[in-house]
Subunit: 333 residues, 2 copies
């Protein structure tokens, strides 16, 4: 018998989530049944998109249920197997995050080939956030030679990969982030111009200074004023990849109203929302690109790591306070 | 010597244009010089996009200059020619609207082959507004079988053609317009559901009732609340063709803030602004489609006609008051 602690949704957040919305609980796992494996998680991820699943609304993923353990990406090790396709010690990836251990059908976990990378990178640069960056920049925005690229939330798990892929491709990149540490981080990964949005009164003016001839691609992670600034600075035929709008996820009253959308008409701007699963057919190409760039030393990643399942809610809350640089992770074992 | 009256920009409008922003003036035209023709306009067009040219801002067309005659589409007849390529009586199309007659280099006017249609249709259904509708719906939004289409400003010169092309293609179409006359007109051209936006308190709720399963294509002519309603009602992978946002053209303070743009992320919506000149390579295909549909009786058009150059400013002002059904035109001779 194994005891696993897990984080459950105690109540649906109204506005910014707080620690009170979560509860820590313990469950006892029996030995895995026929066709099942038991996995001890070593890493779990917290991601901004999970905020949406805490609301009781229909979306591209079903909402979390109150009183049940949350879900999300995790990597771990098989500690008991009752299925011939898995052996004790196998490294696996699953959506059974937010818990220390679990039993699941063998079909619900995937063996992880790390290509020599640390396993937690498959929750970040080599996983969903990395693929989101890759697909958004190359497939949705359709990055071309000479494009000037603006990335908001550029120091985050997705943004920092967008910045680096654009630099690998030889483009000029402007990134925005909040605070001196993130500015320094962005400069260290080669971002040509960095806007500290917390230090700017007028984001549009700051973007115009950083990109005096305008931008061709905008990778949107933040929303709100960032969108208005990008529309104002866009050149004709600019393409916007809309990945997320973290500034709006906790809105309780009205959302921020985007005032410059009219500029999309005269400047023939294309804005395209996407979720990474639209692009899963490109997974092999993504893994080939990323492993090559990492092995060549062209791509760096940064992690902010909290430890222990009891600290997972706090790690999640940091995402909305700008508390992470690079990928926010929770180390579980 | 010919006297021509013309409309000049007297002052730049602030907010909604008024009659005071325009002045009527007379000019005397000499006989056309070598390589020139003299044309007497029979029709001129007024279009919403001209409002943008009245501001002193850089855009895809240069601004009108104070004290100079306005410009825009016109059809007329050659009354004197000093160029071998034109003869008196030739029907021509030009951008020398807002005046009764003009001299111009032969290269600045085009002979008009009407394919048996009334010449003023080349300022409407068979001209720029018709091509805007055709390109926006078929090329920008990429209309597909089964798409449910929402068109705002559906009783206007562009919108009414969008509605009819979508019906020819077999799609369900919801149109919005203001007032009972326009509602009746839209029903007469086959629009499946019509929203009288002036009679609705909650445009989103009205759209949800008209399209309970959501919309796949939005053809945007109006902006503001219409955009928020369309985003709310959009189904996954909806495509929005952003043609214009007439509700915002006269804004003096802040523009309306679009609050639902965040829905573009989760629903993978594509919003694409365009201007008709992006699609001029499709002109032959457009003319083939339109002349075929008109000759087969599948496409109808409606005109609102004012007479006399002195009434051209008033005709233009009607566009912003919902004073036109179908194409707004000024008959000059």
């Amino acid at each position: 018998m194994t005891v696993s602690r897990e984080i459950r949704l105690k109540s649906r957040p109204v506005g910014v989530p707080t620690a009170d919305n979560f509860e820590l609980a313990s469950v006892t796992l029996p030995a895995p049944g026929a066709g099942e494996v038991q996995v001890r998680n070593s890493w779990m991820t917290v991601d901004p998109y999970m905020r949406g699943r805490m609301n009781d609304v229909k979306s591209y993923v079903p909402p979390f249920q109150i009183g049940e353990a949350l879900q999300g990406g995790a990597v771990g090790e098989v500690v008991a197997s009752n299925d011939p396709s898995f052996a004790v010690g196998d490294l696996v990836q699953s959506m059974f995050g937010w818990r220390e251990a679990f039993n699941a059908p063998a079909s619900a976990v995937q063996k992880l080939n790390t290509f020599g990378l640390p396993p937690q990178t498959f929750l970040g640069i080599a996983g969903m956030p990395g693929m989101t960056a890759w697909a958004g920049l190359l497939k949705v925005a359709g990055l071309k030679d000479g494009d000037i690229v603006f990335v908001s939330g550029a120091a985050g798990a997705v943004g920092s990969v967008v910045v680096q892929i654009a630099k690998i491709k030889g483009n000029k990149v402007i990134g925005s982030a909040g605070g001196a540490d993130k500015v320094a981080f962005l400069k260290s990964i080669g971002c040509d111009e960095v806007i500290d949005y917390k230090a700017e009164k007028d984001l549009t003016a700051a973007l115009m200074r950083a990109a005096p001839t305008g931008i061709d691609v905008y990778f949107e992670n933040v929303g709100g004023e960032h969108m208005d600034a990008a529309l104002a600075a866009a050149r004709p035929f600019a393409r916007f990849a809309l990945c997320g709008m973290i500034s709006q996820y906790n809105a309780t009253g009205e959302m921020y109203g985007v005032k410059n959308l009219i500029q999309a008409v005269g400047k023939s701007i294309r804005l395209e929302g996407f979720i990474v699963s639209n692009h899963f057919e490109h997974l092999p190409a993504f893994l080939q690109d990323m492993s090559g760039w990492i092995n060549d030393g062209k791509l760096k990643w940064t992690e902010t790591i909290d430890e222990g399942i009891e600290n997972a809610p706090g790690a999640f809350l940091k995402l909305f306070k700008g508390g992470n640089t690079g990928k926010m992770l929770v180390k579980l074992s």
